[in-house]
Symmetry: C2
Subunit: 190 residues, 2 copies
């Protein structure tokens, strides 16, 4: 039932917005009573926190697996994180949009908790860039924190426009983006 | 007065959200009556449309000036657009966030109008990439539409985290990002 509440709320929050969706609507859509809702959650805000936490924790878990693999170099790890973020669009687009758009409706303590995890994801990414710089797989003349924001921006933005069912597949997009991130667009006469 | 309504609404919409802000709150904050509001706008939705249109039209205007300059090459134009988008954060961060976050509250006709202008901005950007490819200033093995989304993602994302008053200046960030876009991060042994 908890899963059903989460799934339905994600759809409603994404379509109508968090503030505009009432607990009444959530339980009516599922066909249960408000009592059922309050058995699992004390408030709508607590449910929103649950959605945001699940979203970011899943990303952190996948990122950890990639980063801790002893058999891949920094370039492969970068490719795997880019691909992971793009493939997550299909299953997680709604959660991602709620995460970015509705986070401001969380209370201060929950917001702090979520932001800490979001920052952790970014810092792990930045660490990969820094290790790649030390190992001379990546150039080291640009600040790794600014680069990390740029690289994150590329995939985060794709949640707003990319359709995995469209002409370009997830694999293709990941390849294009990794090529771009590694080599840039300037023509070099060789 | 119209300017004052717009300015106040941008602040309220950004802080509280479009749906959560009533016309009553807007006029109370300014210290006028609802009649004043309805002299300029038929509805809150119409005001939102005005904010979104002004935001995107200003960007299109600045982009046009850059693109039509006969004395700059594609790389310079790219740098100027990146810099323009970053410097706009200081003055336009709130409008930008409303644009991205609240657009879905516009009615179908207004949404269509705004999306057409937003797509125009992207297509102009893509055209620059394509011209650069033809002139061999940019490599031409990656699809220009996907590249444009990536390049836009880098600067669009900066609206969520960049503080122009912080350690990195707008000029520095634009330089870092143009270097990254042109050359990528992979270490090349020369």
């Amino acid at each position: 039932m908890k899963e059903k509440i989460i799934k339905t709320s994600i759809e409603l929050f994404d379509e109508k917005g968090f503030k505009e969706t009432s607990i009444q609507e959530i339980v009516e859509t599922i066909g249960v009573t408000k009592g059922t809702f309050y058995y699992y959650y004390n408030s709508k805000e607590e449910l929103l926190k649950d959605i945001c936490i699940s979203y970011i924790e899943e990303l952190l878990k996948q990122q950890k697996q990639i980063l801790e693999n002893p058999n891949t170099d920094c370039i492969t790890k970068l490719h795997e994180i880019v691909y992971m973020l793009i493939t997550n669009i299909k299953s997680q687009r709604r959660s991602a949009r709620i995460f970015f758009r509705e986070m401001r409706h969380l209370n201060d303590q929950h917001l702090k908790e979520i932001k800490a995890k979001r920052n952790q994801f970014r810092k792990n990414y930045q660490k990969l860039i820094e290790i790649g710089m030390e190992k001379q797989q990546f150039k080291n003349h640009l600040p790794p924190d600014m680069l990390t924001f740029a690289i994150l921006g590329i995939t985060n933005w794709s949640y707003y426009w990319f359709h995995p069912e469209g002409e370009v597949s997830e694999e293709q997009l990941a390849k294009i983006y990794v090529d771009f991130i590694l080599n840039g667009i300037q023509f070099v006469d060789q």
